[in-house]
């Protein structure tokens, strides 16, 4: 279990909170900023925003995709956090408080998108290009764009709660305990959601491969 805890921030997601003493110092600084922001200090809230935007941006990109609505959701998340700050009692870290809001906003958005039954539109090349390393060769960039387009398409087929659990645990490397805290569920439920998501994606990949083989056969 201890080794799992050390794996909490292993995922290569930039802007994740630091570990150990630095994290404690950051928490203290956060507390001071949160207290000031709750009293209406806009500069303090902007500082919190500056510190946490990369984390929220990364998480939202994975959860809802890099489409235009992501930026609107980010704004909504920080506004919700700003409005909720006077009620934030400080019994959790600000990062947890903010991540919970982010996850709720993402989940609501995905549910709405799913209910609307809008046909999945492949992501624009320009959006995918922003996710690709700028120094890669043209060929490599094209290949990475294609991989990302497929990855997001697979994620889109998964139900929101499973998708979010999968992104947190399988992609971002968050521990089951921490994911459970963020999702307000128990660790076993989160684990089941991740496993179901994996199974569904595996089945989708298999079906896609079968279709590809069938097309090859037709030729």
């Amino acid at each position: 279990m201890e080794s799992r805890r050390t794996l909490v921030y292993v995922a290569p997601i930039s802007g994740e909170p630091p570990a150990g003493a630095a994290r404690t110092a950051d928490s203290e600084h956060d507390r001071a900023l949160v207290a000031a922001a709750a009293k209406g200090d806009a500069a303090a809230f902007r500082e919190l925003y500056r510190r946490y935007l990369p984390i929220v941006h990364a998480r939202l990109t994975l959860m809802v995709g890099p489409g235009a609505e992501r930026d609107d959701l980010i704004q909504q998340i920080f506004l919700d956090a700003y409005r909720a700050l006077p009620r934030f009692r400080g019994d959790a870290r600000f990062a947890t408080f903010l991540n919970r809001i982010a996850i709720n906003v993402a989940c609501d958005h995905l549910e709405r998108r799913r209910r609307s039954r809008a046909r999945y539109e492949p992501l624009a090349e320009e959006l995918l290009d922003r996710l690709v390393a700028p120094d890669a060769s043209a060929e490599s960039r094209a290949s990475q764009r294609q991989d990302l387009a497929q990855a997001f398409e697979h994620l889109e087929a998964i139900r929101p709660k499973k998708r979010i659990a999968f992104v947190l645990v399988a992609v971002q490397g968050v521990s089951l305990d921490e994911a459970a805290e963020l999702l307000d569920a128990n660790a076993e439920t989160v684990k089941q959601r991740v496993l179901h998501a994996r199974k569904e994606i595996t089945a989708r990949i298999a079906r896609a491969a079968a279709r590809a083989r069938s097309r090859e056969g037709d030729r």
Binding site: F45, A58, T61, I205
Partner: protein, 396 residues
């Protein structure tokens, strides 16, 4: 599969774990942090939204417990105020030092918004306790907010309107399109207005007048007259005008937002029976719909928000000609809006991509002349270098 996370970023055997190879690994390789332009855009959008949220928070009802406590105090204050008004005929208070008492017919003041319960429902005067903001109207041309502790009354004088501010902060949005003159008498000052958004604050024996839109003439002690332009404020005891203090600018922005169509209920509540009714509904609509611009502090403008959102959408969908026009319109219409700087940056990029480096240089120069944002300055310099390269190759 005890640990449902697959921990490392090594190459995966696709046949063994296709999910890892096809989904997890590509997503982990992705650059998920926002770039400088996204940071600047999101930051500007949030700044604007925060201004709006801060205003809403300031106007939001208090928590139940405090509200109940304040409610008891409010009821007591209201009871006292009503008792004073009911006790006898209209008793106007003594004129403030340095100003003559207005001579004319008392005008009715119409209360607006839900906060009226905390204020005394006076037909010809408005009295509000400390901590209360009460919106009101005098006829159809004067919309105001009185910040308590405050007291205000109004009179019709020679075809114009005179407001008597005994105490408190009065934020006024006045439509002078009918050619009528509005005067505000306050301690040590008489402010004459033709049509503008301004504030008068009674401060002991002196007054502070601040102008957000238009200009006003203020007559201070000793018949000293001062013309106050938009964005300036004047304390009648001071020699010179000064920029509007931030707290007052926020109040003026709130007053401006409240006077806009979305901020005013279609059917004003609590209109006294003898209130002066609008001379023309069309004139009122024209007043409400006219373009507004607030000096002193960038206000949260719904029209600006809509215009910028439209331009952003066109940028997203890569409709570059329409996006360019929308951005230009936005910059020209809202030059002081924080998003105008981002619009200039986008315009520079669009013009550069379209092979118009000279036009792009114009946008960059304009941006560098106004912005203090280090990230934007850096981006502007990057575009400048690209412009130089494009110019060297003979574009445009």
């Amino acid at each position: 599969m005890n640990d449902v996370r697959s921990g490392s970023n090594q190459a995966f055997d696709e046949t063994a774990d296709p999910v890892e190879a096809r989904v997890i690994a590509p997503l982990r390789r992705a650059r998920l942090e926002p770039d400088d332009l996204q940071l600047a855009r999101l930051g500007a959008a949030l700044d604007t939204a925060l201004q709006s949220a801060a205003l809403q928070r300031a106007r939001a009802p208090e928590p139940a417990a405090r509200r109940a406590r304040r409610g008891a105090i409010g009821v007591a204050v209201a009871a006292v105020a009503i008792a004073v008004l009911v006790a006898g005929p209209w008793r106007h208070r003594a004129p403030p030092a340095g100003t003559a008492r207005p001579v004319g017919t008392p005008l009715a003041i119409a209360y607006e918004s839900d906060a009226r319960a905390l204020a005394a429902p006076a037909p010809r005067a408005m009295v509000v306790p400390a901590g209360v903001r009460q919106r009101g109207r005098i006829g159809e041309r004067v919309r105001f907010t009185l910040v308590g502790p405050g007291e205000v009354s109004a009179f019709a004088v020679g075809g114009g309107t005179e407001i008597d501010l005994a105490r408190g902060r009065l934020l006024v949005d006045y439509d002078g399109h009918g050619g009528e003159i509005l005067r505000v008498r306050s301690p040590g000052a008489v402010t004459t207005v033709v049509g503008t958004l301004f504030a008068v604050e009674a401060r002991g024996r002196a007054s502070r007048v601040a102008v957000a839109r238009g200009s006003v003439a203020v007559e201070g002690a000793g018949a000293r007259t001062k013309q106050i332009a938009a964005g300036r404020s004047w304390l009648t005891e001071a020699a010179e005008t000064e920029p509007i203090a931030s707290d007052l600018a926020v109040d003026l922005a709130a007053q401006d937002a409240a006077a806009s169509p979305a901020g005013v209920s279609a059917e004003p509540v609590g209109v006294a029976p003898d209130a002066e009714l609008p001379p023309s509904a069309a004139a009122t609509a024209a007043h409400r719909d006219r373009p507004r611009r607030l000096a002193g502090q960038p206000r949260v403008a719904r029209d600006a928000e809509t215009a910028y959102a439209a331009a952003e959408e066109l940028m997203r969908t890569r409709e570059t000609t329409a996006a360019r026009k929308a951005l230009l319109d936005f910059v020209n219409a809202h030059p002081r809006d924080p998003r105008a700087e981002l619009a200039l940056l986008d315009l520079a990029r669009l013009d550069l991509e379209a092979g118009r480096p000279i036009a792009a240089r114009g946008h960059v120069s304009r941006l560098l002349a106004t912005t203090k944002d280090a990230a934007l300055i850096d981006l502007a310099h990057q575009i400048e270098r690209r412009i130089e390269a494009a110019t060297a190759t003979g574009a445009e």
